[in-house]
């Protein structure tokens, strides 16, 4: 049973369809990146999984059941939805205390999470005076309060400084390594590519792809960049093979359909010195834009 699942989830606001017959599942023990352009329906989907909005049709399930039936919600699921959802006049510590008290979580745990997110120094200041990064940390502290089995984080990296990003990355990896379920939305693709194992991509409220990160970025046709003493001759020699060859600027070739070993051996037979032989990992960003572009073309 997947920890989180949406089945044919549809959410309409008047005539606008925010989420359109969306289905996917999120498993434990890995970080799942939830990607899509602005307005794709990421937040709506997350809110449905948290029981904060009711689907127009379809269902959102937490551990196989609708979220409203959770018996111990804060220990089941922790969420950081938006970094601005605090009463500006309440201190960070008191915000966490109100949640801890409501869920029957001991006060000592509030101090623990404050330390974890390194907010213990500012905990008694009113949230009004917090920077975006501090609010983001407070939201994460609230999500971690019940040591939940599932984390749902909406753009948690927003406003974090580089150390904060690194800290977040480690935290998410630790949580997943500990067998927990982590669903994290982001528009910072480079950040996701360093954290996520699994990707769920949506656009216009519809699923575009669900795949592992390795498959997604690796599945770009396996191009190899080649520089050599005589690239014209090498290019001609390669062109005679099965692979396809393209110029990458004046000095390099992009070769696909042939692996690096074959290229190296061919160059040796031809007596051409190789200067570079680099299999190309396409970035998540390139793939993402490519895919979203395809969708646009198809739409």
């Amino acid at each position: 049973m997947p920890e989180l699942e949406v089945r044919n989830l549809t959410k309409r606001y008047g005539k606008t369809v925010a989420v359109d017959d969306l289905s996917f599942a999120v498993e434990a023990g890995r970080v799942t990146g939830f990607l899509g352009p602005n307005g794709a329906g990421k937040t709506t989907t997350m809110r449905a999984l948290l029981g904060l909005l009711r689907p127009s049709s379809g269902e959102a399930l937490v551990e196989g059941a609708p979220p409203v039936t959770m018996t111990d919600p804060l220990r089941t699921i922790g969420a950081a939805l938006e970094a601005t959802a605090f009463h500006p006049g309440r201190s960070g510590r008191n915000h966490l205390r109100t949640l801890a008290v409501a869920a029957g979580i001991p006060a000592s745990r509030v101090e623990e999470v404050l330390e974890m997110v390194e907010l213990d120094g500012a905990a008694d200041r009113r949230v009004k005076g917090y920077s975006l990064g501090m609010r983001q940390r407070l939201a994460l502290a609230a999500a971690l309060l019940g040591e939940p089995r599932i984390l749902i984080l909406d753009e948690p990296a927003n406003g974090l400084d580089p150390q904060g990003m690194r800290w977040l990355r480690d935290l998410l990896r630790d949580q997943a390594a500990g067998g927990r379920t982590v669903l994290v939305s982001s528009h910072l693709l480079s950040e996701v590519s360093q954290t996520a194992d699994e990707l769920v991509m949506i656009r216009g409220g519809k699923l575009v792809a669900q795949t592992s990160l390795a498959e997604f970025t690796g599945g770009g046709g396996g191009q190899i960049r080649v520089r050599a003493a005589d690239i014209s001759r090498l290019g001609a020699a390669l062109g005679e093979g099965t692979g396809s060859v393209a110029r990458d600027g004046d000095e390099a070739l992009l070769v696909s359909g042939v692996d690096a070993k074959e290229i190296g051996e061919l160059a040796l037979r031809q007596g051409i010195a190789l200067h570079e032989l680099a299999p190309q990992q396409r970035s998540l960003e390139e793939r993402f834009i490519e895919l979203m572009g395809d969708e646009e073309a198809a739409a």
């Binding site: 809110r47 904060l52 919600p73 601005t84 205390r97 109100t98 409501a102």
Partner: protein, 248 residues
């Protein structure tokens, strides 16, 4: 029980509650003090000494009533306004227990505010009457007026919660609550018959043991009528909060 403690904590961890109740009590003291202080003993001990004495003692109830009503509204509208409703309802996905907890916390605040009012106002009254040599109204009458005042604070806080839960928008809800309670609900009094007695403005007069009004209801009946209004609004508000999406 945990939710109630949480709501109680929420109320006292922002300055709003402290400032509002502080201002209200200070205002009451000032107002009651001035009124009583400036009134001549002759006024107080006029032919109808008892009722006027009572009226004098219980004067200036209104300011705290308005503020308690607004506090009730804010208890729920700030959650929607600042988005804390998401984390609040995540702790308790069936949302009605949160509303019940807020109701409980507000009834308690109403009682605390009412008791504070009694202490301030009663202390002042005793001091002033002693100073002027007048006689305090009978203790029994005084107690029933004060009991009515305390109850009205608690009920009005609940009234505000109901309106806030229905309207959600902070400014809109405050205006709606005040307009309904203080402007619209006194209007049916103008109608012939006793229908006006069953609207909040007149009912609260009855609950206060309104000495000069023409209320036909007793204190207890007035309290029940007012309570029924508050209960209906809270029930409707709770139903709506449970049905509607929590989103900004």
């Amino acid at each position: 029980m945990n939710l109630l403690r949480s709501e109680w904590l929420k109320l006292w961890t922002t300055r709003t509650t402290w400032v509002m109740l502080g201002v209200a009590l200070f205002g009451e003291a000032l107002f009651a003090g001035l009124y009583t202080g400036l009134a001549s003993i002759a006024d107080i001990e006029g032919p109808a000494a008892e009722p006027e004495g009572l009226e004098t003692v219980a004067t200036g109830v209104g300011l705290l009533l308005v503020l308690i009503l607004v506090l009730g509204v804010l208890t729920i509208t700030t959650e929607f306004r600042h988005g804390t409703s998401s984390s609040t309802f995540l702790v308790s996905p069936p949302r009605y227990p949160v509303l019940l907890a807020k109701l409980g916390a507000l009834l308690l605040v109403g009682l605390v505010a009412g008791l504070a009012y009694v202490v301030v106002n009663g202390g002042l009254a005793v001091a002033l009457f002693a100073d002027r040599g007048g006689d305090l109204p009978p203790a029994g009458d005084l107690a029933s007026v004060y009991a009515g005042v305390v109850a009205s604070y608690a009920i009005l806080a609940a009234f505000g919660l109901g309106v806030g839960a229905i309207v959600r928008n902070q400014v809109g809800a405050i205006i709606a609550a005040i307009a309904f309670f203080f402007v619209l609900s006194p209007l049916p009094e103008l109608l012939p018959g006793s229908i006006g007695d069953y609207f909040p403005a007149q009912a609260i007069g009855s609950l206060h043991g309104n000495p000069e009004g023409d209320a036909n209801l007793g204190q207890v009946e007035g309290g029940l009528v007012l309570g029924a209004w508050a209960a209906t609004l809270v029930a409707l508000g709770t139903l709506l909060v449970c049905r509607r999406d929590v989103a900004e």
